[in-house]
Symmetry: C2
Subunit: 226 residues, 2 copies
Protein backbone atom coordinates (compact mmCIF):
# COMPACT_ATOMS: atom_id res chain seq x y z
CA UNK A 1 0.00 0.00 0.00
CA UNK A 2 2.86 2.39 0.86
CA UNK A 3 5.79 1.91 -1.51
CA UNK A 4 8.82 4.21 -1.35
CA UNK A 5 11.82 3.86 -3.67
CA UNK A 6 14.97 5.96 -3.46
CA UNK A 7 13.35 8.83 -1.57
CA UNK A 8 15.54 11.90 -1.07
CA UNK A 9 14.69 15.03 0.89
CA UNK A 10 17.20 17.84 1.19
CA UNK A 11 16.99 21.15 2.99
CA UNK A 12 19.26 24.10 2.30
CA UNK A 13 20.16 26.51 5.10
CA UNK A 14 22.58 29.23 4.05
CA UNK A 15 25.34 27.40 2.21
CA UNK A 16 24.74 24.16 4.08
CA UNK A 17 22.78 21.25 2.65
CA UNK A 18 21.00 18.87 5.05
CA UNK A 19 20.10 15.39 3.80
CA UNK A 20 17.06 14.81 5.98
CA UNK A 21 16.24 11.68 3.90
CA UNK A 22 18.94 9.98 1.86
CA UNK A 23 17.82 7.13 -0.37
CA UNK A 24 14.94 5.62 1.60
CA UNK A 25 13.18 2.57 0.16
CA UNK A 26 10.34 0.98 2.06
CA UNK A 27 7.21 -1.16 1.67
CA UNK A 28 4.39 -1.05 4.20
CA UNK A 29 1.45 -3.35 3.53
CA UNK A 30 -2.19 -2.67 4.38
CA UNK A 31 -3.00 -3.09 8.06
CA UNK A 32 0.64 -3.29 9.14
CA UNK A 33 1.70 -1.90 12.54
CA UNK A 34 5.16 -0.35 12.22
CA UNK A 35 7.36 1.56 14.70
CA UNK A 36 9.96 4.01 13.38
CA UNK A 37 12.77 4.75 15.78
CA UNK A 38 16.13 6.49 15.75
CA UNK A 39 18.16 9.33 17.24
CA UNK A 40 16.97 12.92 17.38
CA UNK A 41 17.44 14.47 13.93
CA UNK A 42 17.64 11.15 12.05
CA UNK A 43 14.72 11.97 9.69
CA UNK A 44 11.73 10.28 11.33
CA UNK A 45 9.35 13.27 11.20
CA UNK A 46 10.49 14.08 7.66
CA UNK A 47 9.78 10.51 6.55
CA UNK A 48 6.35 10.60 8.17
CA UNK A 49 5.54 13.90 6.42
CA UNK A 50 6.52 12.43 3.02
CA UNK A 51 4.37 9.34 3.65
CA UNK A 52 1.52 11.61 4.80
CA UNK A 53 1.72 13.71 1.60
CA UNK A 54 2.57 16.80 3.65
CA UNK A 55 5.98 17.11 2.05
CA UNK A 56 7.26 16.26 -1.44
CA UNK A 57 10.51 14.35 -1.88
CA UNK A 58 13.24 15.88 -4.07
CA UNK A 59 13.82 12.52 -5.76
CA UNK A 60 12.47 9.01 -5.72
CA UNK A 61 9.12 7.35 -6.16
CA UNK A 62 6.12 6.99 -3.86
CA UNK A 63 3.17 4.77 -4.72
CA UNK A 64 0.19 4.85 -2.37
CA UNK A 65 -2.35 2.08 -3.02
CA UNK A 66 -0.64 1.52 -6.39
CA UNK A 67 -0.91 5.12 -7.46
CA UNK A 68 2.09 7.39 -8.15
CA UNK A 69 1.44 10.31 -5.82
CA UNK A 70 4.55 12.28 -6.79
CA UNK A 71 2.73 13.42 -9.95
CA UNK A 72 -0.30 14.84 -8.11
CA UNK A 73 -0.81 18.57 -7.68
CA UNK A 74 -1.56 20.15 -4.30
CA UNK A 75 -5.33 19.67 -4.61
CA UNK A 76 -4.85 16.03 -5.49
CA UNK A 77 -2.62 15.51 -2.46
CA UNK A 78 -5.07 17.34 -0.19
CA UNK A 79 -7.91 15.14 -1.37
CA UNK A 80 -6.08 11.91 -0.59
CA UNK A 81 -4.87 13.26 2.77
CA UNK A 82 -8.37 14.16 3.80
CA UNK A 83 -9.93 10.88 2.78
CA UNK A 84 -7.24 8.34 3.63
CA UNK A 85 -4.70 9.71 6.09
CA UNK A 86 -4.80 10.71 9.75
CA UNK A 87 -1.74 12.55 11.05
CA UNK A 88 -0.78 13.06 14.70
CA UNK A 89 1.88 15.78 14.69
CA UNK A 90 4.84 15.82 17.06
CA UNK A 91 3.68 19.28 18.13
CA UNK A 92 -0.04 18.81 17.54
CA UNK A 93 -0.88 21.83 15.30
CA UNK A 94 -4.26 22.41 16.92
CA UNK A 95 -6.34 25.39 15.83
CA UNK A 96 -5.77 27.99 18.60
CA UNK A 97 -9.19 29.64 18.37
CA UNK A 98 -11.20 26.41 18.45
CA UNK A 99 -12.20 24.46 21.55
CA UNK A 100 -11.00 20.90 22.07
CA UNK A 101 -14.39 19.62 20.82
CA UNK A 102 -14.28 21.77 17.68
CA UNK A 103 -10.69 20.80 16.94
CA UNK A 104 -11.71 17.14 17.06
CA UNK A 105 -14.78 17.88 14.90
CA UNK A 106 -12.76 19.52 12.13
CA UNK A 107 -12.22 16.42 9.91
CA UNK A 108 -15.92 15.58 10.28
CA UNK A 109 -16.90 19.10 9.19
CA UNK A 110 -14.56 18.85 6.19
CA UNK A 111 -16.11 15.48 5.28
CA UNK A 112 -19.62 16.97 5.36
CA UNK A 113 -20.84 14.86 8.28
CA UNK A 114 -24.17 16.19 9.62
CA UNK A 115 -24.09 18.19 12.91
CA UNK A 116 -26.05 15.66 14.96
CA UNK A 117 -23.86 12.73 13.97
CA UNK A 118 -20.77 14.92 14.47
CA UNK A 119 -21.79 15.75 18.02
CA UNK A 120 -22.16 12.11 19.00
CA UNK A 121 -18.88 11.06 17.35
CA UNK A 122 -17.02 13.91 19.09
CA UNK A 123 -18.65 13.09 22.44
CA UNK A 124 -17.45 9.50 22.12
CA UNK A 125 -13.91 10.63 21.25
CA UNK A 126 -13.82 13.03 24.21
CA UNK A 127 -14.86 10.24 26.53
CA UNK A 128 -12.39 7.74 25.06
CA UNK A 129 -9.49 10.12 25.63
CA UNK A 130 -10.57 11.37 29.06
CA UNK A 131 -11.33 14.89 27.84
CA UNK A 132 -15.04 15.18 28.60
CA UNK A 133 -14.67 18.02 31.11
CA UNK A 134 -12.19 19.84 28.87
CA UNK A 135 -14.44 19.95 25.76
CA UNK A 136 -14.82 23.73 25.83
CA UNK A 137 -11.20 24.54 26.64
CA UNK A 138 -9.06 26.03 23.91
CA UNK A 139 -5.56 24.59 23.41
CA UNK A 140 -3.94 27.31 25.55
CA UNK A 141 -6.26 26.29 28.38
CA UNK A 142 -5.15 22.66 28.27
CA UNK A 143 -2.16 20.83 29.71
CA UNK A 144 0.48 19.44 27.32
CA UNK A 145 -0.84 15.92 27.53
CA UNK A 146 -4.44 17.09 27.08
CA UNK A 147 -3.43 18.88 23.86
CA UNK A 148 -1.71 15.73 22.69
CA UNK A 149 -4.87 13.73 23.28
CA UNK A 150 -6.96 16.27 21.34
CA UNK A 151 -4.51 15.89 18.43
CA UNK A 152 -4.85 12.12 18.59
CA UNK A 153 -8.65 12.25 18.76
CA UNK A 154 -8.74 14.58 15.76
CA UNK A 155 -6.53 12.26 13.69
CA UNK A 156 -8.53 9.12 14.52
CA UNK A 157 -12.11 10.40 14.52
CA UNK A 158 -12.64 9.49 10.82
CA UNK A 159 -10.89 6.12 11.20
CA UNK A 160 -8.57 6.79 8.23
CA UNK A 161 -7.01 3.95 6.24
CA UNK A 162 -3.53 5.12 7.22
CA UNK A 163 -2.71 6.56 10.65
CA UNK A 164 0.64 8.30 11.05
CA UNK A 165 1.64 9.12 14.64
CA UNK A 166 4.69 11.23 15.48
CA UNK A 167 5.63 10.60 19.15
CA UNK A 168 1.97 10.21 20.26
CA UNK A 169 2.87 9.67 23.93
CA UNK A 170 5.76 12.14 24.29
CA UNK A 171 3.80 14.31 26.74
CA UNK A 172 1.82 11.64 28.51
CA UNK A 173 2.43 9.82 31.78
CA UNK A 174 2.83 6.08 31.58
CA UNK A 175 -0.76 5.14 32.36
CA UNK A 176 -2.36 7.66 30.00
CA UNK A 177 0.19 6.75 27.33
CA UNK A 178 -0.77 3.10 27.47
CA UNK A 179 -4.48 3.93 27.30
CA UNK A 180 -3.79 5.91 24.13
CA UNK A 181 -1.66 3.17 22.60
CA UNK A 182 -4.42 0.64 23.25
CA UNK A 183 -6.90 2.89 21.40
CA UNK A 184 -4.51 3.19 18.45
CA UNK A 185 -3.80 -0.54 18.41
CA UNK A 186 -7.53 -1.31 18.48
CA UNK A 187 -7.72 0.54 15.16
CA UNK A 188 -5.23 -1.88 13.62
CA UNK A 189 -7.70 -4.67 14.47
CA UNK A 190 -10.03 -2.87 12.06
CA UNK A 191 -7.41 -3.07 9.32
CA UNK A 192 -5.99 0.42 9.68
CA UNK A 193 -2.29 0.80 8.82
CA UNK A 194 -0.47 2.31 11.81
CA UNK A 195 2.98 3.92 11.45
CA UNK A 196 4.25 5.28 14.74
CA UNK A 197 7.40 7.27 15.40
CA UNK A 198 8.47 6.73 18.98
CA UNK A 199 11.47 7.30 21.21
CA UNK A 200 10.14 4.76 23.71
CA UNK A 201 11.71 1.34 23.06
CA UNK A 202 8.97 -0.31 25.11
CA UNK A 203 6.34 1.13 22.77
CA UNK A 204 8.44 0.29 19.74
CA UNK A 205 8.51 -3.36 20.81
CA UNK A 206 4.71 -3.55 20.73
CA UNK A 207 4.65 -2.95 16.98
CA UNK A 208 4.83 -5.96 14.71
CA UNK A 209 7.77 -4.42 12.88
CA UNK A 210 10.53 -1.98 13.89
CA UNK A 211 12.36 0.32 11.49
CA UNK A 212 15.47 2.14 12.71
CA UNK A 213 16.81 5.31 11.11
CA UNK A 214 20.09 7.14 11.33
CA UNK A 215 21.24 10.17 9.33
CA UNK A 216 18.31 10.06 6.93
CA UNK A 217 18.62 6.36 6.15
CA UNK A 218 16.90 3.17 7.18
CA UNK A 219 19.67 1.19 8.88
CA UNK A 220 17.59 -1.67 10.29
CA UNK A 221 14.20 -3.12 9.41
CA UNK A 222 12.80 -6.13 11.22
CA UNK A 223 10.23 -6.57 8.45
CA UNK A 224 12.48 -6.42 5.40
CA UNK A 225 12.06 -9.35 3.02
CA UNK A 226 15.38 -8.97 1.19
CA UNK B 1 15.08 28.59 49.36
CA UNK B 2 11.71 27.80 47.74
CA UNK B 3 8.92 27.86 50.32
CA UNK B 4 5.29 27.46 49.24
CA UNK B 5 2.38 27.52 51.71
CA UNK B 6 -1.26 26.94 50.78
CA UNK B 7 -0.81 27.76 47.10
CA UNK B 8 -4.02 27.90 45.08
CA UNK B 9 -4.35 28.43 41.34
CA UNK B 10 -7.76 28.45 39.69
CA UNK B 11 -8.74 28.89 36.07
CA UNK B 12 -12.23 29.77 34.91
CA UNK B 13 -13.51 28.54 31.55
CA UNK B 14 -17.09 29.49 30.81
CA UNK B 15 -18.99 28.60 33.98
CA UNK B 16 -16.51 25.92 34.99
CA UNK B 17 -13.77 26.43 37.56
CA UNK B 18 -10.58 24.36 37.29
CA UNK B 19 -8.44 23.94 40.42
CA UNK B 20 -5.08 23.53 38.72
CA UNK B 21 -3.36 23.85 42.12
CA UNK B 22 -5.31 23.19 45.33
CA UNK B 23 -3.52 23.93 48.59
CA UNK B 24 0.10 23.11 47.71
CA UNK B 25 2.72 23.47 50.45
CA UNK B 26 6.34 22.65 49.71
CA UNK B 27 9.90 23.36 50.78
CA UNK B 28 12.83 22.94 48.41
CA UNK B 29 16.26 23.68 49.83
CA UNK B 30 19.24 25.14 47.93
CA UNK B 31 20.95 22.66 45.68
CA UNK B 32 18.23 20.03 45.95
CA UNK B 33 17.44 17.76 42.98
CA UNK B 34 13.69 17.12 42.86
CA UNK B 35 11.49 15.23 40.37
CA UNK B 36 7.81 16.17 40.05
CA UNK B 37 5.61 13.47 38.60
CA UNK B 38 1.93 12.74 38.14
CA UNK B 39 -0.80 12.11 35.58
CA UNK B 40 -1.46 14.38 32.64
CA UNK B 41 -3.41 17.43 33.88
CA UNK B 42 -2.42 17.05 37.53
CA UNK B 43 -0.89 20.53 37.82
CA UNK B 44 2.84 19.93 37.27
CA UNK B 45 3.39 22.65 34.67
CA UNK B 46 1.23 25.08 36.63
CA UNK B 47 3.28 24.44 39.77
CA UNK B 48 6.52 24.95 37.87
CA UNK B 49 5.22 28.24 36.43
CA UNK B 50 4.31 29.49 39.92
CA UNK B 51 7.75 28.54 41.26
CA UNK B 52 9.37 30.19 38.22
CA UNK B 53 7.45 33.47 38.82
CA UNK B 54 5.72 33.11 35.45
CA UNK B 55 2.31 32.80 37.06
CA UNK B 56 0.84 34.29 40.24
CA UNK B 57 -1.11 32.09 42.65
CA UNK B 58 -4.67 33.14 43.62
CA UNK B 59 -3.93 32.42 47.25
CA UNK B 60 -1.10 31.27 49.48
CA UNK B 61 2.42 32.37 50.20
CA UNK B 62 5.67 31.97 48.25
CA UNK B 63 9.03 32.87 49.74
CA UNK B 64 12.06 32.64 47.45
CA UNK B 65 15.39 32.95 49.31
CA UNK B 66 13.43 34.26 52.30
CA UNK B 67 11.68 36.98 50.33
CA UNK B 68 7.91 37.17 49.84
CA UNK B 69 7.61 37.26 46.05
CA UNK B 70 3.81 37.47 45.97
CA UNK B 71 4.07 41.19 46.79
CA UNK B 72 6.38 42.02 43.88
CA UNK B 73 5.14 43.81 40.79
CA UNK B 74 5.80 42.51 37.27
CA UNK B 75 9.15 44.30 36.95
CA UNK B 76 10.26 42.89 40.27
CA UNK B 77 9.34 39.36 39.18
CA UNK B 78 11.05 39.83 35.80
CA UNK B 79 14.23 40.94 37.52
CA UNK B 80 14.41 37.86 39.75
CA UNK B 81 13.51 35.54 36.87
CA UNK B 82 16.30 36.92 34.73
CA UNK B 83 18.95 36.77 37.42
CA UNK B 84 18.08 33.59 39.32
CA UNK B 85 15.83 31.29 37.32
CA UNK B 86 16.27 29.20 34.19
CA UNK B 87 13.09 27.71 32.71
CA UNK B 88 12.87 24.87 30.19
CA UNK B 89 9.32 24.96 28.85
CA UNK B 90 7.34 21.85 27.94
CA UNK B 91 6.91 23.38 24.49
CA UNK B 92 10.15 25.33 24.35
CA UNK B 93 8.92 28.86 23.44
CA UNK B 94 11.88 29.60 21.18
CA UNK B 95 11.96 32.87 19.26
CA UNK B 96 10.88 31.90 15.71
CA UNK B 97 12.95 34.52 13.89
CA UNK B 98 16.21 33.81 15.70
CA UNK B 99 18.70 31.09 14.87
CA UNK B 100 19.50 28.35 17.36
CA UNK B 101 22.69 30.24 18.32
CA UNK B 102 20.85 33.52 18.84
CA UNK B 103 18.10 31.85 20.86
CA UNK B 104 20.75 30.43 23.17
CA UNK B 105 22.50 33.83 23.35
CA UNK B 106 19.35 35.67 24.45
CA UNK B 107 19.88 35.47 28.26
CA UNK B 108 23.50 36.57 27.76
CA UNK B 109 22.41 39.58 25.70
CA UNK B 110 19.86 40.49 28.39
CA UNK B 111 22.56 40.21 31.05
CA UNK B 112 24.84 42.59 29.11
CA UNK B 113 27.56 39.99 28.46
CA UNK B 114 30.05 41.28 25.86
CA UNK B 115 29.79 39.87 22.30
CA UNK B 116 33.14 38.08 22.31
CA UNK B 117 32.45 36.28 25.57
CA UNK B 118 28.92 35.53 24.41
CA UNK B 119 30.19 33.87 21.25
CA UNK B 120 32.47 31.50 23.16
CA UNK B 121 29.80 30.62 25.74
CA UNK B 122 27.28 29.90 22.97
CA UNK B 123 29.81 27.83 21.02
CA UNK B 124 30.45 25.71 24.07
CA UNK B 125 26.69 25.20 24.65
CA UNK B 126 26.15 24.22 21.00
CA UNK B 127 28.91 21.66 21.27
CA UNK B 128 27.67 20.28 24.59
CA UNK B 129 24.20 19.68 23.18
CA UNK B 130 25.30 18.32 19.80
CA UNK B 131 23.98 21.33 17.87
CA UNK B 132 27.16 22.70 16.30
CA UNK B 133 26.07 22.13 12.70
CA UNK B 134 22.58 23.47 13.44
CA UNK B 135 23.72 26.85 14.86
CA UNK B 136 22.25 28.88 12.00
CA UNK B 137 18.98 26.97 11.72
CA UNK B 138 15.84 28.67 12.91
CA UNK B 139 13.44 26.64 15.08
CA UNK B 140 11.25 25.66 12.11
CA UNK B 141 14.36 24.21 10.45
CA UNK B 142 15.12 21.96 13.40
CA UNK B 143 13.80 18.57 14.47
CA UNK B 144 11.68 18.34 17.63
CA UNK B 145 14.53 17.07 19.74
CA UNK B 146 16.90 19.69 18.36
CA UNK B 147 14.46 22.43 19.40
CA UNK B 148 14.24 20.87 22.83
CA UNK B 149 18.01 20.96 23.16
CA UNK B 150 18.12 24.63 22.12
CA UNK B 151 15.55 25.37 24.85
CA UNK B 152 17.68 23.54 27.40
CA UNK B 153 20.88 25.29 26.29
CA UNK B 154 19.15 28.68 26.56
CA UNK B 155 17.91 27.95 30.11
CA UNK B 156 21.29 26.74 31.37
CA UNK B 157 23.72 29.09 29.61
CA UNK B 158 23.77 31.56 32.55
CA UNK B 159 23.97 28.76 35.16
CA UNK B 160 21.01 30.14 37.12
CA UNK B 161 20.59 29.41 40.85
CA UNK B 162 17.29 27.62 40.16
CA UNK B 163 16.70 25.47 37.08
CA UNK B 164 13.11 24.44 36.32
CA UNK B 165 12.70 21.80 33.63
CA UNK B 166 9.30 20.78 32.26
CA UNK B 167 9.65 17.37 30.53
CA UNK B 168 13.19 18.12 29.24
CA UNK B 169 13.54 14.76 27.47
CA UNK B 170 10.00 14.37 26.09
CA UNK B 171 11.18 14.62 22.48
CA UNK B 172 14.54 12.94 22.81
CA UNK B 173 15.64 9.39 22.11
CA UNK B 174 17.04 7.46 25.05
CA UNK B 175 20.71 8.14 24.39
CA UNK B 176 20.33 11.87 23.73
CA UNK B 177 17.98 12.14 26.72
CA UNK B 178 20.58 10.66 29.06
CA UNK B 179 23.28 12.97 27.70
CA UNK B 180 21.03 15.93 28.49
CA UNK B 181 20.17 14.64 31.97
CA UNK B 182 23.87 14.22 32.73
CA UNK B 183 24.48 17.86 31.75
CA UNK B 184 21.62 19.01 34.00
CA UNK B 185 22.80 16.84 36.88
CA UNK B 186 26.35 18.18 36.55
CA UNK B 187 24.86 21.60 37.31
CA UNK B 188 23.55 20.31 40.66
CA UNK B 189 27.18 19.48 41.54
CA UNK B 190 27.75 23.23 41.27
CA UNK B 191 25.00 23.86 43.81
CA UNK B 192 22.19 24.67 41.38
CA UNK B 193 18.68 23.71 42.52
CA UNK B 194 17.09 21.43 39.90
CA UNK B 195 13.32 20.85 39.79
CA UNK B 196 12.35 18.56 36.93
CA UNK B 197 8.88 17.56 35.80
CA UNK B 198 9.07 14.20 34.10
CA UNK B 199 6.76 11.42 32.92
CA UNK B 200 9.68 8.99 32.82
CA UNK B 201 9.83 7.01 36.08
CA UNK B 202 13.40 5.99 35.29
CA UNK B 203 14.41 9.67 35.16
CA UNK B 204 12.33 10.43 38.24
CA UNK B 205 14.26 7.80 40.21
CA UNK B 206 17.57 9.57 39.50
CA UNK B 207 16.47 12.62 41.51
CA UNK B 208 17.22 12.69 45.20
CA UNK B 209 13.58 13.37 45.98
CA UNK B 210 10.29 12.53 44.18
CA UNK B 211 7.10 14.54 44.51
CA UNK B 212 3.87 13.09 43.12
CA UNK B 213 0.86 15.19 42.16
CA UNK B 214 -2.75 14.38 41.48
CA UNK B 215 -5.64 16.79 40.83
CA UNK B 216 -3.65 19.87 41.80
CA UNK B 217 -2.32 18.44 45.09
CA UNK B 218 0.91 16.91 46.30
CA UNK B 219 -0.11 13.37 47.24
CA UNK B 220 3.33 11.93 47.94
CA UNK B 221 6.70 13.44 48.76
CA UNK B 222 9.73 11.31 49.44
CA UNK B 223 11.49 14.31 50.97
CA UNK B 224 8.81 15.51 53.36
CA UNK B 225 9.97 15.98 56.92
CA UNK B 226 6.58 15.93 58.64
N1 LIG C 1 12.87 22.89 7.26
C1 LIG C 1 14.11 22.40 7.51
N2 LIG C 1 15.19 23.08 7.08
C2 LIG C 1 16.43 22.61 7.33
N3 LIG C 1 16.71 21.47 7.98
C3 LIG C 1 15.67 20.75 8.43
C4 LIG C 1 14.32 21.18 8.23
N4 LIG C 1 13.50 20.25 8.80
C5 LIG C 1 14.29 19.31 9.33
N5 LIG C 1 15.60 19.60 9.11
C6 LIG C 1 16.75 18.79 9.50
O1 LIG C 1 16.55 17.48 8.98
C7 LIG C 1 16.94 16.50 9.93
C8 LIG C 1 15.79 15.52 10.18
O2 LIG C 1 14.74 16.20 10.83
P1 LIG C 1 13.50 15.39 11.45
O3 LIG C 1 12.58 16.41 12.04
O4 LIG C 1 12.94 14.47 10.42
O5 LIG C 1 14.19 14.51 12.58
P2 LIG C 1 13.55 13.53 13.66
O6 LIG C 1 14.13 12.18 13.44
O7 LIG C 1 12.06 13.65 13.66
O8 LIG C 1 14.11 14.10 15.04
P3 LIG C 1 13.45 14.22 16.51
O9 LIG C 1 13.52 12.84 17.09
O10 LIG C 1 14.37 15.18 17.19
O11 LIG C 1 12.05 14.74 16.38
C9 LIG C 1 17.35 17.25 11.20
O12 LIG C 1 18.75 17.21 11.33
C10 LIG C 1 16.86 18.66 11.00
O13 LIG C 1 17.77 19.63 11.50
N1 LIG D 1 -5.09 28.64 31.07
C1 LIG D 1 -5.85 27.62 31.56
N2 LIG D 1 -7.20 27.75 31.59
C2 LIG D 1 -7.96 26.74 32.06
N3 LIG D 1 -7.50 25.57 32.53
C3 LIG D 1 -6.16 25.39 32.52
C4 LIG D 1 -5.28 26.38 32.03
N4 LIG D 1 -4.01 25.92 32.13
C5 LIG D 1 -4.10 24.67 32.66
N5 LIG D 1 -5.40 24.35 32.89
C6 LIG D 1 -5.89 23.11 33.48
O1 LIG D 1 -5.22 22.94 34.72
C7 LIG D 1 -4.87 21.55 34.91
C8 LIG D 1 -3.37 21.45 35.17
O2 LIG D 1 -2.65 21.81 34.02
P1 LIG D 1 -1.09 21.56 33.93
O3 LIG D 1 -0.65 22.10 32.59
O4 LIG D 1 -0.39 22.11 35.12
O5 LIG D 1 -0.99 19.98 33.96
P2 LIG D 1 0.29 19.01 33.82
O6 LIG D 1 0.38 18.21 35.06
O7 LIG D 1 1.49 19.80 33.41
O8 LIG D 1 -0.16 18.04 32.63
P3 LIG D 1 0.70 17.34 31.45
O9 LIG D 1 1.43 16.21 32.07
O10 LIG D 1 -0.40 16.90 30.51
O11 LIG D 1 1.60 18.37 30.84
C9 LIG D 1 -5.28 20.81 33.63
O12 LIG D 1 -6.42 20.03 33.90
C10 LIG D 1 -5.58 21.91 32.63
O13 LIG D 1 -6.70 21.59 31.79
MG1 LIG E 1 10.66 14.42 14.96
MG1 LIG F 1 2.61 19.91 31.64
Amino acid sequence: MIRLRGIQRRFVVGDQSVHALADVSLDITDGEYVAIMGPSGSGKSTLLHVIGLLDRPDAGEYRLSGRDVTTLDDDGLAHIRRSQIGFIFQFFHLVPRLSAADNIALPLVLAGIAPQRRASVVARALEEFGLMDRARHRPDQLSGGQRQRVAIARATVMEPAVLLADEPTGNLDRATGFEVIRILEALTDKGITLVMVTHDPELGRRARRQIHMRDGRVVEDSGRRQ
